[in-house]
Symmetry: none
Subunit: 201 residues, 4 copies
């Protein structure tokens, strides 16, 4: 919520969602430590106390936001892979598409999981670590499989995988929604880049 913007009117009982949304936006724009819970409450159009009625605290909000974001990404990947069938190239395209679309549709918030991970307290970190590595494994399995089957010819699968992911993730940092570049075109470009990175025949 940019300063000066009128806070939304929250329907009675709708506090939890309003607060989570406001937290997501603030954490994305100003970071965890740069966000005060007053910012969040104001952004949600509620009082400070209402925030504590719905969440245990700031840390709890961060965990909720990261969890939701990670879950959504994981869900998109999972679904894309299910539709993609068995072909490594198609599966690569599916994950690239899921990642690009996620990064574009959640442009601001999608970086929270990565950049604010360090601010999670151990208890939350441990709980979310599994979700995180599950998403990571999707990529690893895919690339390893492609290499094993001779479809991807890159010599260093781990580095290739990281390069593809980093390339896709970076989109959130420069993409302009109204900049004349459509998402399908974007997906196509990064699929091509990804195929070159893994040296897909």
């Amino acid at each position: 919520m940019s300063p000066g913007t009128a806070p939304p009117v929250v329907p009675r009982g709708g506090g939890r969602e309003a607060i989570t949304r406001a937290a997501r936006e603030s954490f994305a724009e100003r970071g965890y430590h740069g966000t005060s819970i007053r910012d969040i409450a104001r952004g949600a159009g509620l009082s400070l106390s209402a925030l504590y009625h719905w969440h245990a605290g700031k840390q709890d909000l961060l965990a909720a936001v990261i969890e939701e974001s990670t879950a959504e990404y994981f869900g998109r990947c999972d679904e894309a892979l299910r539709e993609a069938g068995d072909d490594p190239a198609a599966r690569l395209g599916a994950l690239v598409r899921a990642t690009v679309e996620y990064r574009v549709s959640r442009q601001v918030e999608s970086t929270i999981a990565a950049s604010e991970w360090r601010n999670l307290e151990p208890a939350h970190r441990e709980r979310l670590a599994e979700m995180r590595s599950a998403a990571s494994r999707l990529w690893a399995d895919l690339v390893d499989d492609g290499v094993a089957r001779g479809v991807f010819r890159c010599e260093h699968p781990d580095d290739a995988r990281r390069a593809v992911i980093a390339s896709c993730n970076a989109i959130a940092q420069w993409f302009e929604p109204d900049g004349g570049l459509g998402v399908p075109e974007l997906v196509e470009r990064y699929t091509a880049i990804a195929r070159r990175i893994v040296d897909c025949r």
Copy 2:
């Protein structure tokens, strides 16, 4: 500075450097807002007042750290390019090497410039923007030149450039200094990836 570590003994007159170094480490580990000026003073082994003797304040320290970091990167790039001659492929390798080496040798601090940029006050941001775009231009000129001369055959030079940079930058997030992977080998791998991304013949 990890908790429990004895603060270094600062030689008389060496305050400025000790403080900048401590600020760099704290900003890297905990972020700008996650770092207190007392953390920095403690990390430098100096009093709070000493910090203010050498620097105008926290914001000033952030600007100094980002400036120094950007300048170093820019210097490395510049030098590498000068040694590389005129060949686009060689020049690409030079920038990749400069970036990888920078990211590995300044593993923690190298992300400050990117992640804490938003916390710079306008005055500092404007001043540093030029340095920033100069480094960015080195990459753009290089890729555009390679494409213009037909050495790089990628269709979308901007995306290729961003992918290469993102891939190299990401190294700082996973590299383990004592992990058995040497820097020259790392440079070689990412040079190969970069060449594939730009589709270097």
Copy 3:
């Protein structure tokens, strides 16, 4: 509530008693300011709103607890004295017994009236002051009478009275219910002490 209006008749139900009991326990264990109204509601197994349905607020609860506690003590004293007859020594024994038994049977709560008295708002304090001094007068009358009749030979009745009361009250601070010391034996010991304090012939 407008002045002069009769307080609403509270329908009987389990809530009121459960809340009073929880308040008594919390005030005893953590003190008035150390107890939150949520502690009380939780201790009673009811919601916050239920608490406010039965009581006007925290202050009201404190007054109720102190009133009940004082009334019980006063009742015990009164009854014991009625049974004791006219002999000063017997009357002294009766009050000691009432006090000791009260302090032992209400070990935790019996101190609330004394230690939280200062937290009563003036309105409540004035109302309860009479009960308080009535109990105090029982002791004073007894000792003064014993002295007047030459049965107690202590020179300073006021100090003797205070010493006896303080000695009995202190029992609540150290007595262990399962510690092998029975209440009758305890009463006997403190009766003896009390008689020596007033110098009963």
Copy 4:
């Protein structure tokens, strides 16, 4: 510090003492939980931050106040006993005098150690427990010795000891400094009471 009283002007560097004194007064008058650190800072004539410059927090202040109070009492007892020589009756008089004088001269604060003990966090409680039981042992040794030597003929030394202590301690609750009753006279009265309690021949 009563409300409305002008806070004292604190000489530069004298913050620590001013704050400890203000804490002592507030804890005594309103209890630990009833005292806010703003009360303390205001009472000391300093800012909130100055309080934290000198003490780690509210809990730290409580521990400091209790420690100082206990130490002073212990010191008074120790000195009084040293002057008293070997005679049990004289030693009893010495401890009574030390206790009475302490309770009168530190009328308000002397109860903090007892009433706020439960609000000490375990770390502090453990640290101070030894001081506490040392003072307690002075009394126990004295009474046991008197009984062993046949000077005190009470049958239950533990109860006698507790009664004497409770009687002396209670003085702080009713004594009025300008009430016409001098401290020497007070000491004499309670010494007599104590002797009767232990049944000193």
